[in-house]
């Protein structure tokens, strides 16, 4: 029984077929799992392991290395405020402290209504608009406390949903064309990987 919904599962299989080795699809598949669940559930990681020919432990070990993957539930909007050098010089730390007060949570926490998670970000490469604020990896360019407050109330009222999809949805543009491997070849590769995985599991004492 697939944990990933049929449509997501199909996209996952298409992504795997783009790479010479299934494991390379690890990061895009984890993004996809987050798109479905909002964070990485154990069930999704197990399924990604199957798709990439790895173990659930390897998936977790890889996912935990990267800032954008969350192993615990996060809010619908993950708000990041950069405090690195260019933003520091423009009051990034002060804006982050303001965000803590406005949202009523410390960095790393989620509001009780499950709407916002606050993070302190490293440089987001938008240094001509400091301090840099992102929501779900989208640059919102709210550089003052007032603008930040307006953004928060807009999001609370359900605004800007076109621009800022729920957390986890990273790339909404699908790959439409390309030298996608023939389906039989993909099925063959998947069977091979699953046999190898089985053999590895059996070889363990």
């Amino acid at each position: 029984m697939s944990h990933l919904r049929p449509e997501i599962r199909q996209r996952a299989e298409e992504i795997v077929s783009l790479y010479p080795h299934p494991r390379s699809a690890m990061l895009p598949l984890l993004h996809l799992a987050q798109e479905q669940d909002g964070y990485l559930t154990p069930e999704a990681m197990e399924e990604v392991a199957g798709l990439t020919g790895t173990t659930a432990a390897e998936v977790r070990g890889t996912a935990s290395f990267y800032d954008l993957f969350h192993l615990e539930p996060v809010g619908r909007y993950v708000v990041g405020v950069c405090t690195n050098i260019a933003c520091l010089l423009a009051g990034g730390i002060e804006l982050l402290e303001h965000a803590e007060r406005v949202l009523g949570i410390p960095v790393g926490a989620t509001t009780p209504d499950g709407l916002f998670t606050l993070e302190e970000n490293e440089c987001l490469a938008d240094c001509d608009h400091p301090p840099c604020v992102q929501v779900n990896s989208r640059f919102v360019r709210t550089t003052s406390a007032d603008q930040f407050d307006a953004l928060v109330s807009e999001l609370r009222d359900g605004g800007r949903t076109d621009e800022i999809p729920p957390f986890g949805t990273l790339v909404r543009v699908r790959r439409t064309v390309g030298l996608v491997a023939p389906r039989e070849q993909v099925a063959e590769e998947r069977a091979r990987v699953s046999i190898e995985r089985q053999q590895r599991a059996e070889a363990k004492p």
């Binding site: 010479p20 990061l27 987001l124 790339v171 390309g178």
Partner: protein, 434 residues
């Protein structure tokens, strides 16, 4: 006086409405260079790039032509494009990815043709969702118009390009860390030797890893010739380069400038560029090439923006990001934040970097917040010396990748320039700037 008459090589279309779309790109001569390149031999394309003497724009400044020539001996290979721009205060690739993705795609196909590679990956930082979407759209459109896929423009050459999202890790900007990440693993930089992915890269195969800006130069170089590119700039620093100016300037932004013919003073103070320091304040110091580079004081303002010109004076142009800090900036606080960044982003493989960065951050934190001790300044330098022995430039390495040796750069240069300020943090029991 700033010299601003050089052609815009990679930013010509920036600012044009719809610059990210295929229609706009085609209106401005898009994919003509690719057609021209495909009519040439792969060797002739390489020779133009070699003539251009284009230095890689990622940070290390390795000549692109030479990198490619290493691969020409080996048959099986991949082209990987490094779009994991995360060196603090660097935001040039972000601009190119969002506003001119087709220029990059065209550059990728030209490079792949020259290298005779049939598979390329564009690795883009996960924090850049819009860039990921725009590049994916550009790739889709390129396939649909025959500029990608099988038998490109009827030339017989085929290329598949996969846009790959990163997931938030500075270390994946290191080329071997990036390759590990692309293989679906933690972004742990690989142990050297082999030193170059051209020997052993993606899946153990010969691989070329190029920066976004480097490849974005290709369409212009093919259209105008490598010699025209090399005619710009001076010495080893040819062509133009993107400089990302941030910090306390009136007009922060990305500026494309001819190499060497402009100075730090030009970019920070020229009215058409940085337009001087905010609120009429005085400049205190500046970071010349990303936070991995040693700081420069105001006596270095007239140093030209060139690879060797900056290198000879004990720092680097690095990723091309310049951060201006005005007289109100607390040097300890700025260095603390930079060090905190390295501490957070250290992958943890090597002890000097993993432990050292955390120690340094804590010492700087207590200096800034009133717990500093007189001996802390020497202690900082001592820990730095353990990470990068001798604190020389270019730095000595005790770690697998250059992240570790980058940590001491800001600390030791700031202490040498502002030693009194560091001691004032001890005697004042905290930051005298308040």
């Amino acid at each position: 006086m700033a010299k601003l008459d050089a052609p815009k090589i990679v930013t010509a279309r920036i600012g044009i409405e719809g610059s990210h779309t295929l229609a706009t790109y085609l209106e401005h001569g898009g994919y003509e260079s690719l057609r021209k390149a495909l009519a040439m031999t792969p060797e002739a394309v390489w020779s133009e790039v070699d003539d251009a003497s284009l230095l890689g724009r990622g940070g290390a400044g390795f000549p692109a032509g030479r990198k490619w020539s290493m691969l020409r001996k080996n048959p099986v290979s991949y082209l990987v494009v490094n779009g994991d721009e995360s060196e603090p205060a660097t935001f040039k690739d972000h601009l190119l990815l969002e506003n001119d993705p087709h220029q990059l795609v065209e550059g990728v196909v030209i490079a792949a043709y020259s290298l005779q590679v049939s598979q390329a990956f564009i690795y883009i930082r996960g924090e850049m969702a819009l860039a990921l979407e725009r590049v994916q759209s550009a790739v889709n459109d390129a396939y649909a118009s025959g500029a990608l896929g099988q038998d490109i423009f009827g030339s017989g050459f085929s290329l598949d390009v996969v846009v790959h999202p990163g997931a938030g890790a500075y270390i994946c900007g290191d080329e071997t860390g990036l390759l590990e990440s692309l293989e679906g693993k933690r972004g742990f930089p690989r142990i050297k030797p082999p030193f170059f992915p051209a020997v052993m890269g993606l899946y153990g195969q010969p691989t070329v890893v190029n920066n976004i800006e480097t490849l974005s130069n290709m369409p212009w170089i093919i259209a105008n010739g490598g010699k025209a590119f090399a005619a710009l700039g001076q010495g080893r620093s040819t062509g133009t380069r993107l400089f990302a100016l941030a910090g306390h300037v009136n007009r922060p932004g990305v500026y494309e400038l001819e190499m060497v013919h402009n100075t730090f003073r030009d970019i920070i103070f020229d009215p058409a560029l940085g337009a001087g320091i905010r609120d009429g304040r005085a400049l205190k110091a500046f970071i010349p090439g990303g936070v991995s580079s040693p700081w420069f004081g105001i006596e270095m303002l007239d140093v030209p923006l060139g690879q060797d010109e900056v290198g000879e004076r004990g720092s680097m142009l690095g990723s091309g990001s310049i951060v201006a800090m005005d007289e109100t900036t607390c040097a300890v606080r700025a260095v603390w934040r930079i060090t905190k960044f390295f501490s957070r982003e250290s992958c943890g493989q090597c002890t000097p970097c993993r432990e050292g960065s955390g120690w340094l951050e804590r010492i700087l934190w207590r200096l800034e917040n009133g717990g500093g001790r007189h001996e802390d300044i020497d202690l900082l330098l001592d820990v730095c010396d353990n990470i990068s022995p001798g604190l020389v430039w270019p730095p000595q390495q005790t770690t697998i990748c250059p992240l570790g040796p980058s940590i001491p750069a800001s600390i030791s240069s700031a202490i040498s320039m502002f030693k009194d300020e560091f001691y004032a943090h001890v005697t004042n029991q905290g930051c005298p700037h308040g």
